[in-house]
Symmetry: C2
Subunit: 507 residues, 2 copies
Amino acid sequence: MEARRRSRAREGTILKARRVPIDSFRENVLLLSRQCTMVRPERLTGTRKVEVRSNGRAILATILIVDDPGLVAQDEAGLAEPAFRRLGVAEGALVEIAPAPRPKGLAAIEAKVSGQTLTDAVLADVVSDLVGYRWSDVEISAFLVACASFMTADETLAFTRAMTEGGTRLDWNTPIVADKHCIGGIPGNRTSLVVVPIVAAHGLTIPKTSSRAITSPAGTADTMEVLARVDLSIDEMRATVDRCGGCIVWGGRVNLSPADDVLISVERRLSIDTPEQMVASILSKKIAAGSTHMVLDVPVGPTAKIRDPHAALRLRKLFEFVAGRLGIALDIVITDGAQPVGRGIGPVLEMRDVLAVLRNETGAPADLREKSIRLAARLLEMDPAVRGGTGEARARELLVSGAALAKLEQIAGSQGAPRRQAVIGSLVAEIRASKSGWVQGIDCLRIARIARTAGAPTDPGAGIELLLKQGDSVRAGDPLYRVYGDDPADFGMAVASGSEEPGYLIG
Amino acid sequence: MEARRRSRAREGTILKARRVPIDSFRENVLLLSRQCTMVRPERLTGTRKVEVRSNGRAILATILIVDDPGLVAQDEAGLAEPAFRRLGVAEGALVEIAPAPRPKGLAAIEAKVSGQTLTDAVLADVVSDLVGYRWSDVEISAFLVACASFMTADETLAFTRAMTEGGTRLDWNTPIVADKHCIGGIPGNRTSLVVVPIVAAHGLTIPKTSSRAITSPAGTADTMEVLARVDLSIDEMRATVDRCGGCIVWGGRVNLSPADDVLISVERRLSIDTPEQMVASILSKKIAAGSTHMVLDVPVGPTAKIRDPHAALRLRKLFEFVAGRLGIALDIVITDGAQPVGRGIGPVLEMRDVLAVLRNETGAPADLREKSIRLAARLLEMDPAVRGGTGEARARELLVSGAALAKLEQIAGSQGAPRRQAVIGSLVAEIRASKSGWVQGIDCLRIARIARTAGAPTDPGAGIELLLKQGDSVRAGDPLYRVYGDDPADFGMAVASGSEEPGYLIG
């Protein structure tokens, strides 16, 4: 009898689920009444994490205390989005609340802080916790910073492997599954939208999953969405690849390396981007996507993610070590990251550049065209049927002949029409040079921030059109770029910001 | 005209303040409608921090999105507690929302992660940001872990100084202001409640500020609250010290080193407790409190915060370095932390031990009495009027004569009666030994956790009464300790937990 009472007490407290119309982004939030008789919330303030269970499902949640019974009554468990969705209960269903058992992987933080290297098993626990949303953002932040202090190549390998295994794994039943990726940071660098059609037109399988912008003015998925639907399910993605040999979809719906998404959401808030996390993030996503052969674009420049050749070399070695152990053929291409690529920045403006290249227009941006050909060539050379040294000629041929354009149109048609028609922004202003000279460099971070302030990618037609690039001569008063937008307040802020500090180095 | 529009846009968006009956603990939370026409919340998800301004005041807040206009309408800015209180506006007042400028001190995180030492100026920026609640918990976590990786003695000194200057500073206009502190971790270690009355009875000024429990079953303030009011204002504290020469109050209302409170709230969630943060935390609070001479109790034991003599020595050196530079006379006493001190754990049970010692009862716990005399003696020896080597005799004399008891009663009378009468828990159960032998050690962490589970300090009468201590012989079935409680569910959980693993090492 006493034993039974004890065990009941340890099982937790029963409350009625209530959906609370609040969106807490990625973290699970549970709202409890301060008058809740069964749980005593003040006791929980030390940890603030509780387990919410129902029908064999369990989530961990952070607590907020509510002082209005109309919002959450004392016998209710208020579940904000996404906690309500993740628990998958009906409103009014009984749920059980209990102090959360300490997630197993958390020991990794203390271990790392005290200077230990982590075993494969511990890193697998970390990934399992992340995928189960069992860590708070505070804990994720601590783990990332502890790993930034030092992480061995073996730890990076083990972590990449565990992340790869922590989500969906795709298999394309073909010996070469090509892929192309960039470590990011360069506005307008939309080479994937040229490379994928070239490679698919050649006949290789290239099922490209890409991301939406998180802090940049456009991700490949955002730009592709100007032309076609990108939020495809796995089955829809397969259908397009079967039909066209390639696709360009948003990876978010496919659940590849979900631990990576969790880590990235905190990393971005800290502006921390270590080589080890970059390797684990990119390779886990690509291997989970079934890629076997990949070309990786690593831009180096004063305002790029990688700022000097030594850092690029170190990053290359780490990528090669992990890729080699995990059996993916990886070719790293160090590229010029001194300025944005192409002229447009923002989804619609970037797609305009991409189509100009594919259509072989005379005014098409040469840097986007030549860089795309170079990257496509490296991928084509991975095909045993291509004679060594002929990759570039083959890539150029597929571009000039219109085969690549036809392929992109086929892929877009297969993926379906985009949900909304995106057109160029209706508001436009020019930012002018304050002195004469030569354009010596363009600040990628500054240009990205102004384009994002203007509304990109939320407004797909917002962004920046660069009128002058490195090496061009300029006179005071000449326009440097145009800012486009649709929302007057955002547009105004972007124009003000660009006028104050345009991001051009003129010497 | 265009310039004016630009500048207006940058000033932000005007919304009506609405108090939302949700308590977000320490972080500021702003709730915005997803339909809010003026702010576009999806744009903010990258940063999630905005500045809320009104009448010259500004706070930074984290955003949650609301999908119910009844909770927050599209022209409203929902302010949860404590954001509403901190901004100090009336409901319906107009507030301005703008993307938060990046706090100046945040550069410290990246600098520390990349291996730099921080300058005094940067550390002062960090403290200023913390005191202004400008950092998110994610950022605080990153900073703490980056500092845990390495922090020089000079950085620790500069950080301590900046923290000291970041809040209220008390001045007692007397050459010796005595203080006594313990680094914590040992349940039942309530020596302050014996030391303060002895030292004050001797005639030294000892205005003791103490903390409430955060993760432990009782802090000195919680235990003192059994006898007297502890949430005194600075003026009330001064009145008691003028009258009695000493006080024992809760430091939380006095705003000493507020940056420390912010750091601690995140540290506890990470179970990180580095020597550097410990030194900065304790010394900044004590110097801000006006202390000039302090005895610091550093318990060492297998389940204490400091587990070996080397770590204790390293900690001592760092304390001495910073204390010396900041001009506070510090005497560090390494003590036995192998088991809890006294018999009671939890506010009422601990106060019972304290009063038994002060009343010279025959059954009073000898370890609490002797440790208190030892610590009091070290403080008394700091008085130039006390002849070297006579501190212990003087301390014992003040205890045995009843002078210390009379002093505690005077202090309690001056501080005022506690808000509620606290009595020992109405539920009681014994935890018994499962084998025979000798008690070789008692797990401080486990005992603390069980006492806290039982309800301490929320229920002041809940906790643990130890019946056997180190060196006692025990036979299987003998009671080891009693668990007290008032809430049946919590009490049941504590008894179950104690039965499963009592926390006694019997050999």
